[in-house]
């Protein structure tokens, strides 16, 4: 069965303390791996799409990477405004439906 698992469920960091979030996926025929950010009371906001193993994308303090089994969202020197829930989702090649993980709640303390 296709599934996406994110870890950890929650992560507390001090401002400036770099870390990584993990997204493991089991999808037959991956079309793309997506990262979204969700703030409380809002809908998810698109961050990145990765299409092939070895691909990397960056945006400000965030960098997403992809292997054949997992994706990482690296956050470098985070700030309190980076606090949010980060969701990853995998798109099947067959029907393009997104399979979502449960998210990692990131809290950055000043």
């Amino acid at each position: 069965e296709d599934q996406v698992t994110q870890s950890p469920e929650a992560l507390r960091l001090q401002e400036g303390e770099s870390s990584s979030l993990n997204c493991s996926y089991t999808v037959s025929g991956l079309r793309g791996l997506f990262w979204y950010r969700q703030d409380p009371g809002k809908g998810p906001e698109f961050l990145f799409t990765l299409y092939s193993a070895g691909e990397e994308k960056e945006k400000e303090r965030l960098k997403a990477t992809l292997t054949k089994k997992e994706s990482f969202l690296h956050i470098t020197a985070p700030k309190p405004e980076d606090s949010a829930t980060y969701l990853c989702a995998a798109a099947r090649d067959s029907n393009y439906q997104l399979i979502w993980g449960a998210g990692t709640k990131l809290i950055i303390k000043p």
Partner: protein
């Protein structure tokens, strides 16, 4: 560019009552999605429209949920009758194409069924 609009933002109803949610996607976006998000979980796709046709409704509880997209633009999602387990945030999203690419989400409607 205006984002995805949803209304209402919050709704409280009693079980067995009916409720309807409205969504206006980004202008020109052909694909519209309705998701259900329960606290602490990722979004669950309920239905996907391509223009005004249904692409995927395999996870829509059709005995109580219905959705339509008139003229390929606005969409409404209805629940009748509501159950306690329907308490969740209902998210509408749109994308330019049907390929699962970048989706733009509205703020959601938080439904509480008592």
């Amino acid at each position: 560019e205006a984002g995805v609009a949803q209304s209402p933002r919050y709704k409280i109803i009693e079980k067995r009552q009916s409720v309807a949610f409205w969504c206006n996607p980004i202008s020109g976006h052909a694909t519209l999605y309705w998701y259900q998000q329960i606290l602490g979980q990722g979004p669950k796709l309920l239905i996907q429209f391509q223009n005004n046709g249904v692409v995927d409704d395999s996870q829509l509880p059709k005995d109580r949920f219905s959705a339509e997209r008139l003229k390929g633009v606005d969409s409404t999602l209805k629940i009748q009758p509501a159950k306690l387990e329907d308490s969740a945030v209902y998210l509408c999203a749109s994308s330019a194409h049907a390929g699962g690419d970048e989706q733009y989400f509205g703020p959601g409607t938080r439904l509480t069924v008592t």
